[in-house]
């Protein structure tokens, strides 16, 4: 790609990326494009289905093994024989096809924390993943979207995927964030405002001074949850914070892509978030959002800090700053799950894991586990969990009559100490 391909007018970042890939000067919302992808991702739940479909093509080799990333992270370390067999299918396929981006236990991480960290995501890239939270990579200025296993199989075979060019909605955040308010609160607030289908089929552009000042971990959290509003992708246009993050990770050349000044948005939302409190999504939907002050006397059984949404180092630092020298409430089980081996190692070096263990939290190797009720922290009937994860649907973390509340890592840590949902200031 070169700069000339991006010189258009009236287009958003996503439209420009898709137009360049489609070798067109301009694309418009609603257009269908069949384009080469730069990366196609699968995990231990979705890749086995994709591999089975791939075999129906009758091909010996994948289109390009370097385009494929396989990360068994959902039920790993293998929770039972059935999941071990699923991972074995993925591992064998990676070996047979010479897929170097296969990350097994001990080298892995939760996929959406791992790929940016490994330098596999760059501005302007087109990435599909057979996992709905693939939209995370938009935080780095990529066009990234979740697809199904058959789409992954097709990309493995021909390196292509089809897309309908989405309309774009722009979300602008003004003001100064209060202490203990983070990217998680902005995205929960936004989903609460527009609803779980408020951005269905749409690209969500996050912008404004609050985003410009936000660190990469908070940005990744925001893009990650675009899917919870029904979004096709969420993105933030690259800036110096992006380039600093990419430095030393991405070695290939890339050209950052920006929305034009006269880009056409379907809708622009503008929020002054200066008075925003930490936000809580009540069960059973991520759009059932209230400020933490309205979460009164919600007594908890379990608290989870981790996931592709909030298992990064800034998240662990925020949690540790609250838990330092304190104990988790005796009635609470607190699980802390660094999202990648690298994050785990950094947390170890910084003494964060010691703080968690001394506080009587259980610290786990990277896994999606409890977020989807997969393993490690399943809820019994009637239990309540507060979690930094992304979904709180019925039965999401275990029994259909258990409940999940969603929040940011500081609120999770403080609430683990208090035994009920509280604002971090209550325990500091």
């Amino acid at each position: 790609m070169n700069k000339e391909q991006f010189s258009q007018s009236g287009s958003t970042m996503v439209e420009k990326i898709l137009a360049a890939k489609a070798d067109q000067t301009k694309v418009s919302p609603g257009d269908l494009v069949n384009i080469q992808v730069d990366l196609a991702l699968g995990n231990d739940v979705t890749a086995p289905v994709a591999i089975r479909e791939f075999e129906r093509f009758g091909l010996d080799r994948v289109f390009n093994p370097d385009l494929i990333v396989l990360v068994p992270d959902h039920f790993t370390p293998n929770k039972d024989i059935a999941s071990a067999e699923q991972v074995k299918i993925v591992r064998r396929f990676a070996e047979q096809q010479g897929i170097k981006h296969f990350y097994d236990v001990g080298r892995m991480g939760i996929e959406h924390a791992l790929l940016p960290e490994k330098g596999l995501v760059w501005p302007g890239a087109v990435i599909i993943g057979a996992d709905s939270h693939t939209c995370t990579y938009g935080a780095l200025g990529a066009f990234a979207t979740g697809v199904g296993s058959t789409d992954l199989a097709a990309a493995m075979a021909i390196g292509e995927a089809w897309f309908k060019v989405p309309h774009t909605m722009r979300f602008e955040y003004e003001g100064e964030l209060a202490p203990w308010v983070s990217g998680k609160d902005l995205i929960l607030f936004t989903i609460g405002q527009i609803g779980v289908e408020g951005a269905r089929y749409r690209a969500m552009e996050f912008a404004g001074p609050v985003i410009s000042r936000m660190g990469m971990d908070g940005r990744l959290t925001m893009a990650n949850m675009a899917i919870e509003a029904g979004g096709k992708c969420g993105y933030i246009q690259p800036d110096q914070i992006t380039f600093d993050y990419l430095e030393g990770r991405v070695t290939r050349p890339y050209v950052p892509v920006y929305s034009d000044q006269d880009a056409v948005y379907e809708k622009v939302f503008s929020y002054d978030v200066s008075n925003l409190e930490p936000q809580i999504a009540f069960p059973p939907s991520p759009d059932n959002v209230f400020p933490v002050s309205e979460a009164k006397n919600i007594v908890l059984d379990q608290v989870v800090i981790g996931s592709c949404t909030n298992g990064r180092i800034d998240d662990l630092r925020a949690a540790a700053s609250i838990l330092k020298g304190k104990k988790v409430n005796p009635k609470i089980r607190l699980l802390v799950i660094p999202a990648t081996q690298q994050i785990y190692s950094t947390a170890l070096e910084e003494g964060l894991l010691k703080i968690f263990v001394d506080a009587e939290a259980a610290v786990s190797t990277p896994t999606c586990g409890p977020c989807l009720g997969g393993h490690m922290g399943i809820l019994a009937k009637g239990e309540k969990a507060l979690s930094t994860t992304n979904r709180n649907f019925i039965g999401r973390m275990g029994h259909p009559e258990s409940e999940v509340y969603l929040c940011n890592p500081a609120v999770a840590a403080a609430s683990a100490v208090a035994g009920r949902i509280v604002h971090p200031e209550e325990v500091i």
Partner: protein, 164 residues
């Protein structure tokens, strides 16, 4: 193609965790997945649904996870068509890719009773008829590319044709 079957009516925002819970995702066999279809929100549902029946829902059907196990579980149960006011985009893609018939249509959900009422669907014309009262509904047409995927029976067949 004309389909006729009993309807099973669901509301808005039926998520893929509700369609098939994550604890059942260590298999890829549609019939095994079907044994747990909608179990967490309707425990008896896997026993109630019969081959050829239709699922009728409100808006944003299939939101949440990208798990293709969700449309596979529905297909495994023998459901002939899913009709919803709107679909979440990954579910929509997945259903078309695996050849599960879906239609986007404004059906009056209150006019239909689960397990009792029957619908006739003309898939080619996108025309639905409530066999109780004769009320008809017209679904939104598919764009030509998606119609081609549907006609070919899914993405695998489409890619096979591309590969020659």
């Amino acid at each position: 193609m004309i389909i006729e079957g009993s309807v099973w009516v669901f509301g808005d925002n039926i998520d893929t965790d509700a369609i098939i819970a994550a604890r059942y995702l260590s298999t890829v066999v549609p019939e095994e997945l079907a044994e747990h279809l909608m179990e967490d929100i309707w425990p008896e549902f896997p026993q109630l649904i019969k081959k050829g029946d239709l699922i009728i829902a409100g808006s944003n059907f299939g939101c949440g996870s990208s798990r293709e196990h969700a449309p596979l579980a529905i297909k495994g149960a023998g459901v002939s068509c899913v009709v919803a006011r709107s679909f979440a985009r990954i579910f929509y893609r997945n259903a078309i890719n695996i050849g599960l018939p879906i239609l986007e249509c404004e059906v009056d959900l209150k006019a239909l009773k689960s397990g009792r009422d029957r619908l006739q669907v003309d898939l080619d014309r996108g025309l639905l008829t409530n066999l109780q009262d004769g009320e008809t509904y017209q679904s939104a047409p598919f764009p030509p590319f998606m119609q081609e995927l549907i006609t070919r029976g899914g993405l695998v067949e489409y890619v096979k044709a591309r590969l020659g």
